[in-house]
Amino acid sequence: MVKVFIYPSTSLILSDMVDRWGHEPLGAALQIRERIQTPGFDSPPLQMTPDDPKRGLRYAAVEVPSGVRGRMALMGPLIEEAEAAIVINDADFSFGCMGCARTNELVKLLIRHRDIPILELTYPRSEEEGVAFVGAIKQFLNGLSEGAA
């Protein structure tokens, strides 16, 4: 089983595909769950503590808005943990405020800087593209299994 980082990190399609073919999808839900389901001190609303933006300093400089550093405190460890990545490049819905947009750019940059196998795709817009999309993901994930064996 290979840990595969998915971008967009909330993607239903990618999360399902990676899980379906026997690998572990690394998405935002895992980090959120870790905070929400762990007892400790109350830090509403998302249990992000003042330490999280400090952890984000590892990925973004101090003059970068704290929103980016806070988000990177969630995404950064996943990128470091990843052994492979699948990126969808036309995920317009993940564009949000400037914090989200800049974090998205930084996440893609950090993934590309890591020396791991990366599959870059766009969303399928027809049945033919759907076949190619699913085929590419399956081929990529099977390749990871053979590499890990």
């Binding site: 399609i13 929400i36 762990t38 001190f41 969303y123 049945e127 593209e129 076949v131 999309f133 085929g135």
Partner: protein, 153 residues
């Protein structure tokens, strides 16, 4: 500082989306209840939310996925169902994260078709992914005027 005690400590929550011509969220929920053994199941408009200990949830998902593997999709969720920080009963409007699901569910029929198709293919026969579509030169004013005139007639 106040102590924070999670509502369902140690549990995981998964979304189960169904986009099938044969299965409704209700049939999915009925089948899930048959094998739930203590796993909390919430039926929704798009499928289910399943909450429980990781091993139990995995077992249940494996079981219900068998009903229509190419039309049932599963994803992790960070919050348990009904959490006041995310539940739309408390917030009003759509739940944060709903828009992403709404967008992807609109495309999921192509993915289901892809899953059906590649089952019948050898790996070397998979079609290649085409480079992404890029916009050509913009619409020139003369063509635009011709379209407008055609509409008005």
């Amino acid at each position: 500082m106040k102590e924070y005690i999670p509502t369902y400590e140690g549990t995981v929550t998964r979304y189960v989306f169904v986009d099938s011509p044969d299965i409704t969220p209700q049939t999915l929920a009925t089948r899930a209840y048959e094998v739930s053994e203590g796993v909390m199941i919430k039926e929704t408009c798009f499928g289910l939310q399943v909450t429980g200990m990781p091993g139990e949830v995995d077992r249940l998902i494996e079981h219900i996925r068998e009903m229509d593997p190419n039309h049932i999709f599963v994803k992790d969720r960070g919050f348990p169902p009904g959490d006041p920080r995310r539940c739309r009963a408390n917030l009003g409007g759509a739940r944060p994260g709903y828009y992403g699901h709404e967008f992807e569910i609109g495309l999921i029929r192509f993915v289901s078709h892809g899953l059906d198709a590649i089952e019948l293919m050898d790996e070397q026969d998979y079609p290649e992914v085409k480079p992404p579509w890029t916009a050509g030169p913009g619409l020139d004013a003369r063509t635009l005027k011709r379209i407008i005139d055609a509409e008005e007639k």
